[in-house]
């Protein structure tokens, strides 16, 4: 074949590898799809033709995401009523549909060639496929958002992201699981407004939300900037309450020479003994008792290790071996009760103990809540029930959402869910809010009217403190809210003094190490910009790693202070003309490192005033 001839032919790739050329790429794709539809080739093979580059891609490899759609031919869905009837009689099943080419799986590349109608009515002659259900265009998680089609795309994404952070019942065996971290909502409820996907996932059996009575109103500024106000009465009745689990483990390690670790309550002789109050929750076996209260930093597994150096011989022969403290302690700020204790063996046959500590996380100021529409917020205040505003029926909202959260975000779905939730709670049954295919607003209004409520969902409220009627009507409804696992109790941190790093003598970083917040380069520059030289000095030196070192005037090098002979002298020249100089330990460290590199940094001194 000549080169010229090849240029006109379409390149054919299988799994990304060029395997040949073809005259009629369109016919080729059509043939492959045709034989797939009559099950001559596997249903997982996809073929796509790119008109721009004149290339045919055939894919059969693993790792492609496929999705099923109904085949449409000549403007008619292949899933006819006849077939639907057969399906209902269970004469046909899913696999039959795939085999018969009524339903086929598309991958991302083949989808580029497809024109998928969203429902039966919108099929035209050009369409090649039909969605099985319109929610097929959304992901599993996204399609759990009710009235999704009324929301902004970005908010749908937000909402979907937060499904992953919600506490609920995420597994069926919470009692037996020993996850390092786990969350369990105490009183989860079925969502009043559900979607079909939730049914398929059996979310009613493993729910992750609670239905909050929500009023969209400001409350004395406590719910400014996306904060929400909770009703203390509701919180005390168990609203949003959840358990936080953390598992600690320890192994009785065996060392060469017959030595091994031991689970026990360490005695006072133990090296690194923490103090009696740190071992108060331990039982005789060195493990914490079930349901014992454990505070932050106290031991849950008492363990001692053999001494590091065996033959510590004193003048009177071998001393009694001094064991080292090696207990497993509860993390700071994660106190609670011991939930489960397990003793088992690890892969090496050593004894392994696992202790699960449970902490009750009662909603408090700073905890995070979110509806399914990406409307997340932090608790700004928990208001006593008697101070909460109430309706003429005496209903007090569980949560008050700031009205400013709505217009700019355009989460109309949230408002519709409020109406639907309200209607559902009056009706006594769940309402279908499946995206694209839900109970319409007119229906919701009718339902509300039937139950003697206003069809616009508004209520008249009275101030709980003054008893006066609140001006204006307040939109109220029921929304499924989720408790997210970000909690202040685990994040709050402050430091005025605390541990320092051994190497640099600067304050430690990070919450676990009681660290400070870094006053970094850019922060330092702001002080320079303001000319606050002394403040900068205080932050960087006085509050950090200030030291007073002796410096030899002659050599310009750090001198020593011999405290035994009470003599300050230079180790290089022996001179006693050494002077104290304030500097940062970091600088002293740098001088040492320069010396280690073979450089000789000389400090020239001058009188300080």
């Amino acid at each position: 074949m000549s080169k010229e001839g090849l240029r006109e032919k379409a390149k054919v790739y299988i799994n990304g590898r060029l395997i040949g050329f073809h005259d009629k790429p369109l016919q080729l794709t059509k043939d492959i799809i045709g034989s797939r539809r009559i099950s001559q080739i596997d249903s997982q093979i996809n073929v796509a033709y790119d008109e721009k580059t004149n290339e045919v891609y055939i894919n059969s490899d693993s790792g492609r995401v496929q999705r099923p759609v109904i085949v449409v031919e000549n403007g008619k869905s292949k899933l006819t009523e006849e077939i639907v009837k057969k399906l209902q009689k269970q004469e046909l099943n899913w696999n039959d549909l795939v085999e018969k080419g009524i339903i086929e799986y598309l991958d991302a590349e083949e989808e580029e060639n497809a024109y998928v109608a969203i429902d039966d009515e919108s099929i035209t002659a050009e369409h090649t496929h039909l969605e099985i259900n319109p929610i097929g265009i959304e992901s599993i998680i996204t399609s759990m958002i009710p009235y999704l089609e009324h929301n902004m795309a970005g908010k749908a994404l937000h909402g979907a992201k937060m499904f992953k952070q919600a506490a609920g019942i995420s597994y069926v065996n919470p009692k037996y699981r020993m996850d390092t971290e786990g969350y369990l909502l105490y009183y989860p409820q079925k969502a009043l407004v559900k979607s079909k996907t939730m049914d398929l996932l059996k979310m009613d059996v493993r729910p992750q939300s609670q239905n909050f009575v929500v009023a969209i109103m400001p409350f004395y500024g406590w719910n400014a900037f996306d904060a929400v106000v909770l009703n203390r009465g509701a919180v005390e009745r168990g609203l949003g309450r959840m358990a936080y689990y953390r598992t600690y483990d320890a192994v009785q390690k065996r060392y060469p020479g017959g030595q091994k670790d031991k689970f026990e309550i360490p005695t006072e002789e133990t090296v690194g003994y923490l103090g009696a109050e740190y071992y108060k929750s331990l039982g005789e076996d060195g493990l914490a008792e079930v349901e014992a209260k454990v505070d932050g930093k106290t031991a849950v597994i008492g363990k001692t290790s053999p001494p590091r150096f065996l033959e510590e011989v004193s003048e009177f022969g071998v001393v009694k071996e001094k064991r080292r403290e090696a207990s497993e302690t509860v993390r700071k700020q994660k106190s609670g009760h011991v939930d489960e204790v397990i003793i088992t063996e690890d892969l090496d046959g050593s004894i392994l103990a696992k202790i699960k500590v449970r902490s009750d996380m009662i909603p408090e100021v700073g905890d995070k809540f979110s509806s399914r529409h990406g409307q997340k917020g932090v608790v700004g205040a928990v208001i006593p029930e008697e101070d909460m505003p109430f309706t003429q029926d005496g209903i007090k909202p569980d949560l008050m959402l700031n009205p400013h959260s709505i217009p700019s975000r355009m989460t109309v779905g949230h408002l519709l869910e409020m109406l639907a939730g309200k209607a559902s709670s009056m009706q006594g049954e769940q309402i279908d809010g499946t995206p694209f295919n839900n109970v319409p607003l007119s229906e919701l209004k009718k339902m509300l009217k039937e139950h003697g409520l206003r069809e616009d969902g508004k209520e008249i409220f009275y101030d709980g403190i003054t008893g006066e009627r609140i001006e204006g009507e307040i939109f109220t409804g029921v929304v499924a809210y989720r408790r997210l696992y970000h909690m202040v109790a685990h994040k709050m941190q402050a430091r005025s003094r605390g541990p320092v790093q051994i190497l640099t003598r600067q304050p430690t970083e990070g919450k676990e190490k009681e660290g400070g917040l870094r006053f970094g380069e850019m922060e330092a520059e702001t002080l320079v910009g303001h000319g606050s030289s002394m403040l900068l000095h205080e932050k960087m030196i006085e509050d950090s790693d200030k030291v007073t070192e002796l410096v030899c005037e002659k050599c310009g090098i750090i001198a020593v202070n011999d405290k035994i002979r009470n003599r300050k002298y230079c180790q290089v020249c022996g001179s006693t003309k050494v002077y104290p100089v304030e500097m940062s330990y970091g600088f002293k460290l740098m001088l040492d490192e320069l010396k280690a590199l073979g450089m000789y940094p000389i400090l020239h001194l001058r009188d300080k005033v």
């Binding site: 320079v528 000319g531 200030k546 940062s584 970091g586 073979g598 005033v609």
Partner: protein, 405 residues
């Protein structure tokens, strides 16, 4: 208490009120602007005052009062001793810099001249890169050319750098040892060139010893059978590279109008030296965005002005307003050494005296080793150096020291 009797009770004094008095700046009696200037008021300030007074016909005493106020206001804006001007400039330029986008601006209509704008251009200037990525000139025209549309067009086309290879189609026959050049009519038309003139120009370029047959727009080179192929090649390549019209480096020209509706020529590619020599160009207003070239042709002060202009303009195009004094400081820093040096480790950082300042910027180990090799001294004059050592920096409240007496 009866009148006339003095009370015997002496009351202790209390602070009635605390007043911080502000004294007006003492202004000596002066009449002319020159003496004002000696006081430290720049010409632009007193000229404005004078102009205003004249326009409003102010009395002499009023003029003095106004001058006094102007001096006060001016003094307020003068930077104070100990102000960290460098950091403030860096922050003032850096913060809005985060809003700059990676955009390439295309001129509307003819998609020919595109100039990197936004962060790309700012980076280019600040880093002092020797070549602009999109070198471009704005050529203003001499008055007679400006008014004549045809002359403008003609001048613009004459600038275009056209090499022989751009307009000639070559057929080689190495067996018979002859080469045919055919002028490409399309290309000629594109560049608005006259075939006759071109042929004449080509003839001049061809060495005398080569035998040439000319027929219309076709030139045939006949070589002797003994001629080396290598030599023929060499000659041809050399010839094809020859420029037949235009100015080197000018790749594209378009005639557009500037903001004041005056016709200007915008080019892609830049050759300031050659353009300034052209009679048709206005040598005063014609500019290029290639800073290196400006420094070479017009001197470093011109380059400094251009740095300010370009930076200010680029930021302004992106709706960012920065006080020009920050930019002036930066421009001074870039150009004070006599050549353009960017704020990078190969630029002004290299000239820094302080080894600590250099080490804390980039390539720490290298700079420390170098300092050790040459026995450098750290004078601890700068900001970073003193932070490293752990001493108060000599800025703001750190500029003063106590003296014991």
């Amino acid at each position: 208490m009866t009148a006339g009797k003095k009370s015997k009770i002496k009351t202790k004094k209390i602070v009635e009120k605390a007043v911080v008095e502000t004294k007006p700046v003492e202004v000596p009696e002066v009449e002319t602007g020159k003496e004002w200037e000696q006081l430290g008021v720049p010409k632009s300030v007193w000229k404005t005052v004078e102009k205003f007074s004249e326009a409003k016909k102010l009395s002499e005493s009023d003029v003095k009062k106004l001058m006094q106020l102007a001096k006060q206001e001016y003094d307020k804006t003068v930077v104070e001793v100990g102000e960290a001007v460098g950091i403030v400039a860096a922050q003032s330029l850096g913060e809005p810099g985060t809003q700059l986008t990676l955009r390439t601006k295309h001129f509307a209509g003819a998609a020919e001249v595109s100039v990197g704008s936004g962060i790309q251009r700012v980076e280019e200037i600040v880093d002092g890169r020797s070549k602009a990525k999109y070198p471009s000139m704005t050529i203003y025209l001499a008055e007679d050319v400006r008014k004549n549309k045809n002359a403008t067009e003609e001048f613009a086309n004459s600038l275009l750098d056209v090499r022989l290879r751009d307009i000639v189609q070559m057929d080689e026959d190495f067996k018979e040892k002859f080469i045919v050049w055919q002028l490409n009519d399309e290309r000629m038309a594109e560049n608005k060139m006259d075939a006759g003139k071109i042929i004449k120009k080509i003839e001049k370029l061809i060495p005398k010893k080569v035998e040439v047959v000319k027929r219309g727009t076709r030139i045939t080179f006949n070589f002797s059978k003994r001629a080396q192929l290598k030599d023929i090649r060499k000659l041809m390549l050399k010839l094809l590279k020859k420029r037949i019209s235009g100015v080197s480096n000018i790749e594209t020209v378009i005639v557009t109008k500037d903001k004041k509706d005056e016709p200007v020529i915008k080019t892609r590619g830049s050759n300031l030296k050659a353009i300034l020599r052209k009679r048709e160009a206005d040598p005063v207003r014609t500019i290029t965005n290639d800073l290196e070239e400006i420094a070479k042709v017009l001197g470093i002060e011109a380059a400094r002005t251009m740095v300010v202009k370009e930076l200010y303009g680029t930021l302004k195009d992106n709706n960012i307003s920065v006080d020009v004094r920050h930019i002036l400081l930066l421009a001074d820093l870039i150009t004070f050494s006599g050549e353009i040096k960017g704020t990078v480790r190969t630029g002004i950082m290299r000239d820094k005296a302080s080894p600590f300042a250099k080490a804390s910027f980039e390539e720490t180990v290298k700079h420390l080793l170098e300092a050790a090799f040459y026995g450098e001294r750290e004078e601890l004059k700068g900001v970073v150096e003193n932070i490293i050592v752990g001493q108060p920096i000599k800025v703001g409240t750190g500029t003063v020291e106590l003296i014991m007496k």
